[in-house]
Amino acid sequence: MQTAATPPRVLGLYDQPFWDLLAESGRMHLQCCSACGAWRYPPGPACHECLSPDCEWKPITGTGELLSWIIFRKQYLPAYPAPYNVIAVRLDEGPTIISNLTSDPTLDDSPIGRRVRLTVARMDDGVALPRFEFADR
């Protein structure tokens, strides 16, 4: 059976550790500024707060708050037959990440503001993808 490839990841010069560390450890790691402690996402060459180039890839808690959600009713990508959801999560460390919710958000009266936690999905082609599930009930 042919499986649809995960839509291409942007793999710039600073992105690879994000994916490698997630696949190896099952935890999301982000760059943490060695000078001021600010977390950054997406990965980049300098701290957006203090401009320091020094950073360390550190594991994050994986918890956060759901900021918004949508349901795609039209298919754009072979790996994502409609309908499917996309969510925005503000991580407790600060950055916001776009991802998917592992359950159907339409079943909840008001998903915005609910607590979520990271779970790692294994895509058909082997890519480890960070997703979120409700954490508060």
Partner: protein, 385 residues
């Protein structure tokens, strides 16, 4: 405070045959490429301005064409040139004129996005190399432009109580304008019920919240104000221009999701109303860059046409249609007239201020405010008769 107030005025506008080319392209023809559409619009703008091409000494081309080739196609040697999007072209033309780089600037745009199948969603989405947010989230199935605005509207509606039905007033009002606009591609009027009955594309946004994709061109000719008065019986002045950009955490969409671009719009409102001595109640017509309907309520609140959280009520009760308290996107805009990436709004501003819009003309229209917030750049212009 220094400003671009009445430094320059528009003396000519033109556009290509959007309606005819829509029909031809849908029938499988390729009437022109982006340079051809631009040339067609430029011929019309020159005729409208009634000046010789040789008088033009500056040229700005839109982002979809190469500057050098466009200048070659149009047969123009100039002493100043640039490339910019619709609203920044107008601002930069004024800056070039104010600094003496040029006296008369042509602004020319052409796009063959429909006939060449430019993708604004899916794996081939254009612009991704410019704006990381357009492609960075594709592993999660998030690539479409509409989805960014759907995420924005979902949170906005939850926090401020605007309903999907309230949002429908944007599409309905703009169809009222386009229904009496012979240049508009979609002219059939719709009701709120039609809007609600249309399918979701990316829920909570429906079919009528999305802009058209069509081919075409637009051109404007802008002259130094004193010169404009000698050349044109009805110069339309740039009364004010302002800009503020929200770039921090833009890939993660935070300026949209947590701020709804409001701080940028409020900063621009201060600039344009402060430097012109005008305020929102002096504005007769509003034109909003509307790749998606969501831009409109956010602009109403961001620029102070209503209070924050009141755009739903404003659209429902005060109205943004031709007879409403603040007629908005009177031509039909991107949703219903033509998707010219903000360029068609500029010429609608000029035509409303000149009083030549026929059945969609707003009576005694003297000042028109145009605003866009593409990719976090809030930019506004006030045009005045």
């Amino acid at each position: 405070m220094k400003s671009l107030k009445r430094v320059a005025a528009v003396i000519g506008v033109g556009h290509s045959d959007w309606v005819g080319d829509w029909t031809r392209v849908r029938a499988g023809e390729r009437p022109d490429d982006c340079y051809g559409y631009a040339a067609s619009a430029f011929r019309n703008a020159l005729a409208d301005a009634n000046i010789a091409r040789e008088k033009i000494d500056g040229l700005i081309v839109g982002p979809t064409t190469a500057y050098e080739r466009m200048a070659e196609v149009l047969g123009m040697n100039v002493r100043w040139g640039d490339q910019a999007d619709a609203v920044l072209s107008v601002v930069q033309a004024c800056m070039a004129i104010e600094s003496g780089q040029a006296d008369i600037v042509a602004l020319v745009y052409g796009n063959d996005q429909r006939s060449v199948g430019t993708q604004y969603g899916g794996p081939q989405a254009m612009g991704g190399d410019q704006f990381l947010s357009y492609v960075y989230h594709s592993p999660w199935g998030m690539t479409s432009q509409g989805a960014l605005y759907a995420l924005m509207f979902r949170r906005y509606s939850e926090l401020f109580g605007i309903s999907e039905r309230d949002l429908g007033h944007v599409a309905v009002a703009q169809r009222e304008g386009s229904s009496v606009n012979p240049n508009a591609i979609q002219r059939k009027r719709i009701t709120i019920e039609d809007y609600m009955a249309a399918p979701y594309i990316t829920e909570p946004l429906r079919l009528f919240d999305y802009c058209l994709i069509n081919d075409g061109g637009v051109a404007l000719i802008i002259a130094e104000a004193g010169l404009a008065r000698t050349l044109s019986p009805k110069p339309v002045y740039i009364e004010a221009a302002g800009r503020y950009d929200l770039n921090k955490r833009a890939t993660s969409l935070e300026p949209r999701l947590t701020d709804f671009y409001r701080p940028a719009q409020q900063a621009v409102a201060e600039q344009i109303f402060g430097t012109s001595g005008l305020d929102p109640k002096d504005i007769d017509v509003l034109q909003v860059y509307d790749s998606f309907s969501v831009h409109v309520p956010l602009a109403l609140e961001g620029y102070g046409y209503c209070k924050v959280g009141e755009a739903g009520r404003f659209m429902r009760e005060d109205g943004i249609g031709l007879a409403g308290r603040l007629p908005t996107n009177t031509s039909g805009g991107h949703l219903s007239e033509s998707y010219m990436q903000g360029w068609n709004h500029q010429i609608e501003c000029v035509r409303q201020a000149r009083g030549e819009c026929g059945a969609r003309q707003i009576e005694n229209c003297r000042r028109v405010h145009y605003t866009s917030d593409v990719a976090g750049k809030a930019v506004s212009i006030i045009y005045g008769a």
